[in-house]
Amino acid sequence: MKQFRRMAYPYIVWSVIMIILPMLLIVMYAFTQKGNDVLTFKVTLDNFIRFFSDPIFIDVLKRSLWVAVLTTVLCLLLGYPVAYIIAQSSGRKKVMLVLLITIPMWINMLVRTYAWVGILQDKGLINTILGFFGIGPISLIYTDFAVVLGMVYNFIPFMILQIYTALSKLDKSYLEAASDLGANKMQSFLNITFPLSLPGVISGITLVFLPAVSSFFIPKMLGGGQYVLIGNVIESQFLTSGNWNFGSAISLIMAVIILISMYITKKLDKTGLNEGGK
């Protein structure tokens, strides 16, 4: 079937041009200064120095990381039980529940996020309900709470589905063996179910953390114009202030942070599995 090999060549060319070249452009812009001619560019670290020497940007970076970590932890804590309950349920009910989790994912993220703008208003649904109990109104919209809520809402289905997939692959006979050997439910969960679901947890964490740390429309819609995360800084560098070099440097910093956190998560996964194997 060697004659079919030629069919790959156009795509190899395409992906070098459309995937690799744009990535290289980001690196190139990040290490050069605005105004330099592309052909005679001078390598400089000024963009990185500017970012790390400005306390405003450091604060933005810290806040972005904090929001992303908090979102990931909340998605895990809230999502794990959901995945577990779905995996435990049977037949048609399981199919229904998975469908119910998936439907919102198919609806445009901006549409779903916009809905919260009304719900979280000072006179919105939540404050009206709280008002019945004589509480509030609490200002919800344009706070950290609103941003984290929006992120959890948008990204938790990824976590649930990943953990659910891992849990449904679990061989039931392990659990039977454990209970035969006298383990109670808690013990068999901690020693068998949870360690074996870790690959799902890890890919869930990746799928939540990655969009959370780079998100820019959720903070803008629910955090208001003053709420700035690293994604918003990149957006404004490219679409309003037009400093592509600085914007590229920031996205490179973000990409490195993501790579490091992925590496740490993978490492944790390995040690976790080893303990599970003992």
């Binding site: 079937m1 060697k2 004659q3 079919f4 090999r5 069919m7 790959a8 060549y9 156009p10 795509y11 190899i12 395409w14 992906s15 459309m18 995937i19 690799i20 070249l21 744009p22 990535m23 452009l25 980001i26 812009y29 592309v38 039980p81 959901v82 309950i85 469908l99 998936t102 439907i103 919102p104 198919w106 609806i107 445009n108 993220m109 901006l110 549409v111 779903r112 916009y114 809905a115 703008v117 009304g118 719900i119 006179k123 919105g124 649904l125 009206t128 809402y153 969009p211 740390v213 780079s214 820019f216 429309f217 819609m221 990149i234 957006e235 490219f238 592509w244 590229s248 996205s251 990409a255």
Partner: protein, 275 residues
């Protein structure tokens, strides 16, 4: 003890589902609001739907979203399938490298892909607009198509194409009459994923478009800066269509199964009667 745990898990699931569906319900309800408010329901009206259908910007955005999604799906499905068939016959090194390259747009944050493309298009001197948006969509859709076609190719018997060629088929015939029909389920699911990815995309489109070419996501984003209930009408329309499609997609196989079962029973009855 067991009962209480069951009730607890039921309550938890109901709460989670409320969390999932409350905003969607809220959007639908307020799309019928006669007032402008997002928090107070003044009475039923179709005012915002009328406004949506008479708003040329909204209609244009819907049009571009659909056109781009259809074109991107068609192009990326064909290109992705061809590339996948080609790569599956390549040496392991080439295949592995290309799989890594393909993973880049899937694992990179969208914003990184977006700014890369933005700078790339401007380097080429392409004007931001329809063409750049379509190219970007094709670029991020192809990997999804390949991702769903590749496993089907891997499970294909490698002797199948050779057998067709030995029996006198031209390579083109072997391809279209033997290989493609075998991997059709992968191609179809790849096309579906590509369509939804293109239809829902915001970040990449937002960075690479210009000249007034918007899709629905960009429109919602730019309009959400002011209170505008026609967004709710548009959202409700999208929610309705997607829910309908998803439910149908899940119900039709169930219905088919039921029908087949019936037919089998009928056949059994008939054969029993003949006996």
């Amino acid at each position: 003890m067991k009962e209480s745990r069951k009730i607890l898990s039921k309550i938890y699931m109901v709460m989670i589902m409320a969390f999932f569906y409350l905003p969607i319900l809220y959007t639908v309800v307020f799309s019928f609001n006669s007032g402008r408010s997002l928090t107070r329901f003044d009475g039923f009206s179709l005012r915002w739907y009328e406004k949506m259908f008479s708003d040329s910007n909204m209609m244009k955005a819907i049009f571009y979203t659909i056109i781009i999604a259809l074109l991107a799906t068609a192009i990326s499905t064909v290109a992705g399938t061809i590339a996948a068939i080609g790569l599956s016959n390549c040496k392991k090194l080439v295949r592995g490298t290309m799989e890594q390259v393909n993973n880049l747009p899937l694992t990179n944050p969208d914003i990184v892909t977006a700014i890369g493309l933005l700078m790339f298009f401007s380097m080429l001197g392409l004007e931001k607009g329809f063409v750049t948006m379509l190219l970007a969509h094709v670029m991020f859709c192809i990997p999804y198509v390949m991702l769903s076609v590749m496993p089907k190719l891997r499970s294909l018997d490698p002797n199948l194409a050779d057998a067709a060629l030995d029996l006198g088929a031209t390579p083109w015939q072997a391809l279209t009459k033997v290989i493609v029909p075998q991997i059709m389920p992968g191609i179809i699911s790849g096309a579906l994923v590509a369509f939804t990815m293109s239809f829902d995309d915001f970040i990449i489109s937002y960075f690479v478009t210009g000249n007034g070419i918007n899709n629905i996501s960009i429109l919602v984003y730019t309009m959400s800066k002011r209170v505008n209930p026609s967004i709710n009408a548009l959202s409700t329309l999208i929610i309705l269509i997607i829910t309908l499609v998803l439910v149908l997609m899940n119900v039709i196989p169930m219905f088919k199964e039921w029908k087949e079962k019936k037919e089998k029973e009928k056949q059994q009855e008939e054969s029993a009667a003949i006996k």
